[in-house]
Amino acid sequence: MIDSLDKKIIRRLQEDISITATPYKEISDELNMTEDELIHKMKTYNETGILKRIGAILYHRKAGFNANAMVVWKIDKEKLDDTGKYMASFLEVSHCYERQPCGSWDYNLYTMIHQRDRESCNKIIENIASAIGTENYKVLYSIKELKKTSMKYFK
């Protein structure tokens, strides 16, 4: 169960951590707990899967990754599991999800590919498509980021 102290910690960790030698010490001071207590809590969250990781999130375009393709695939139900795992094995595929189809939109597998330009994206997509032997897919390039934030839980 997530108690009120956990919520307090999670709320703080979804903000920025300082770029200093002892960032968690600063947070534990703010939260009136010891650094050891905080680190222990964080490790527990990590082990239970609540906290995926402490990490850096980048501005893709500023980092030079200008092409962002969401590829939606129509895959036979019985092949879906193997195909999903196979697609996930590509280094260039950052996200791979099975999603519920919706009416005539009957795509069921979604992959995200980030590359420096569309040409390299297209090459990767063609490789994947020919490897699984399908033409039932559509590439949706992003034209504009309208919003990107991190979720603020327990606000």
């Binding site: 903000e15 030698a21 680190i39 906290l51 962002n68 999800y97 519920q100 919706c102 980030h114 992003s142």
Partner: protein, 155 residues
């Protein structure tokens, strides 16, 4: 951005250690000093390449529910509709994509009921006849890392 920056970004996207001296651990992997890591990270943050350094949580494990929505928005209404959708703090990502379904956004909330309410409300406010909700069924991969070095074993 030099090779060390790229290696650093690869490491930091994947994991910043939960340890009293997280940047010291990263510095040892890169064979540079902790101070140099801090200097580089601060620079990458102020240049806007790093958006945020902090906790990345698993929304499901925290007890939240989410979906990916897609809407067909007429070109002359894009700004207006985006402003309406982006106003919700439960909408964390929103992208304009090249497709008939051109607006793609994620909704994360604490319950299925509130998720349905938000989508219903957005439909009413924007007067869009159709918004698809495409919840994920199975996750095959989430690896947000932009790969700066294809052959980096640490990636």
């Amino acid at each position: 951005m030099d090779t060390i920056d790229k290696k650093l970004l690869n490491l930091m996207q994947n994991e910043i250690p939960i340890d009293k001296r997280p940047f010291k651990i990263l510095s040892e992997k890169l064979l540079i000093t902790e101070n140099e890591v801090l200097k580089r990270v601060n620079k990458l943050k102020s240049e806007g390449i790093i958006r945020r350094i902090g906790g990345i949580f698993n929304s499901r494990k925290i007890g939240y529910t989410s979906t990916l929505c897609a809407a067909k928005v007429p070109v002359n209404k894009i700004n207006e509709v985006a402003a309406c959708i982006n106003e919700y703090c439960e909408v964390t990502h929103n992208y304009l994509r090249e497709d008939e379904y051109n607006m793609w956004f994620t909704v994360i909330t604490h319950s299925q009921e509130s998720l349905n309410d938000i989508i219903k409300e957005i439909k009413e406010k924007t007067a869009l006849s159709e918004i698809m909700s495409l919840p994920s069924i199975k996750l095959f991969k989430v690896k947000v890392a932009l790969n700066f070095q294809g052959d980096d074993k640490n990636d």
